[in-house]
Amino acid sequence: MRTVLSSLRHLILGETWTIPIGVGAALLLAVLVRASLSESAWETGGGFALAGLVIAALAGSLRRSP
């Protein structure tokens, strides 16, 4: 049972915690940025802000890799 759960965790979250944590942080920051911008500014620029945060999450996971 432990092996199956471990395989499922590995399958969905990957082999390192840095990506799930990075994605979670990116989403949280995106929500905060959205709250601080006007609706029209978020609608046009929010996607690029999220893309930047996703790239930051990737960079963070690469820094923690061997």
Partner: protein, 245 residues
């Protein structure tokens, strides 16, 4: 536009995952006989289909479209970034390159080191089942995530069906083509595509209006491809090569 892009992304992801499953089934088949290998694989396929039939309606019947897009986008980001990370590390020489052919050879050698005894056919079936089930589950989750938004299930399923037919055909021709595929580059490409879709859907779920509509998928993919290339260059320059699985 998004119909073709979703179909292509689903086809690429499914084809690559199924190649890995095929390598395991071929190894079991050649070492212990194809009857046991196919029985194990068939049981795994039935298991994955039943799981997807249980999970799919729950995912697709989401009441709020924006919440559904955020959930789907987050799932795709988790898969895509993991594939991207591994792909960049492989391209930079920090990890062993991905090869279903090598996996096939290793699996076959491992099975041949332990000759079949009475009742050992269950071991062969189990190896085949585990390989196909785990790869199949990843395929199922990716296809469900890609097809999760309204009107996107058809291209995701079409892409998956195309990929299954292609991998099935490769399986009939046997192992040789496995060794010739540039799997590391293909996996990196799928990572780029899944990350682009994940960013696109998550942003849509957060009420973003992408400039140029669905074409945003193309420039997002370009952005992540350039990022992957730059990261590979940087990692290649800054550290010695290391072997890891």
């Amino acid at each position: 536009m998004s119909f073709v892009l979703i179909m292509a992304a689903a086809a690429a992801a499914v084809a690559i995952e199924m190649l890995e499953a095929l390598a395991i089934v071929l190894a079991v088949g050649m070492a212990r006989g194809f009857r046991d290998a196919l029985l194990g694989a068939l049981a795994a396929v039935v298991g994955v289909v039943l799981l997807c039939l249980a999970l799919g309606p729950a995912l697709l019947a989401g009441t709020d479209l924006h919440v559904l897009r955020v959930v789907v986008g987050t799932l795709l980001l988790l898969f895509g970034l993991e594939w991207l990370r591994k792909g960049i590390l492989r391209m930079a020489g920090r990890r062993r390159r991905s090869s279903s052919h090598d996996e096939f050879l290793e699996q076959r050698a491992a099975l041949e080191r332990h000759p079949a005894a009475e009742g050992r056919h269950w071991a062969a079936r189990l190896v085949s089942f585990k390989g196909v089930f785990l790869e199949g589950l990843e395929v199922g989750l990716i296809v469900l995530a890609l097809g999760g938004a309204p009107g996107r299930l058809t291209p995701a399923l079409l892409g998956a069906a195309l990929a299954l037919a292609l991998v099935g055909a490769i399986g009939l021709v046997m192992q040789r083509p496995l060794g010739r595929l540039p799997e590391t580059q293909l996996k990196l490409g799928v990572g780029v595509a899944l990350t682009a879709f994940g960013t696109f859907f998550t942003a849509e779920g957060l009420h973003v209006e992408w400039p140029l509509g669905d074409l945003a998928l193309v420039y997002l993919a370009g952005l992540f491809a350039v990022t992957a290339w730059l990261a590979t260059q940087r990692l290649t320059r800054t550290a010695p090569a290391a072997e890891a699985t």
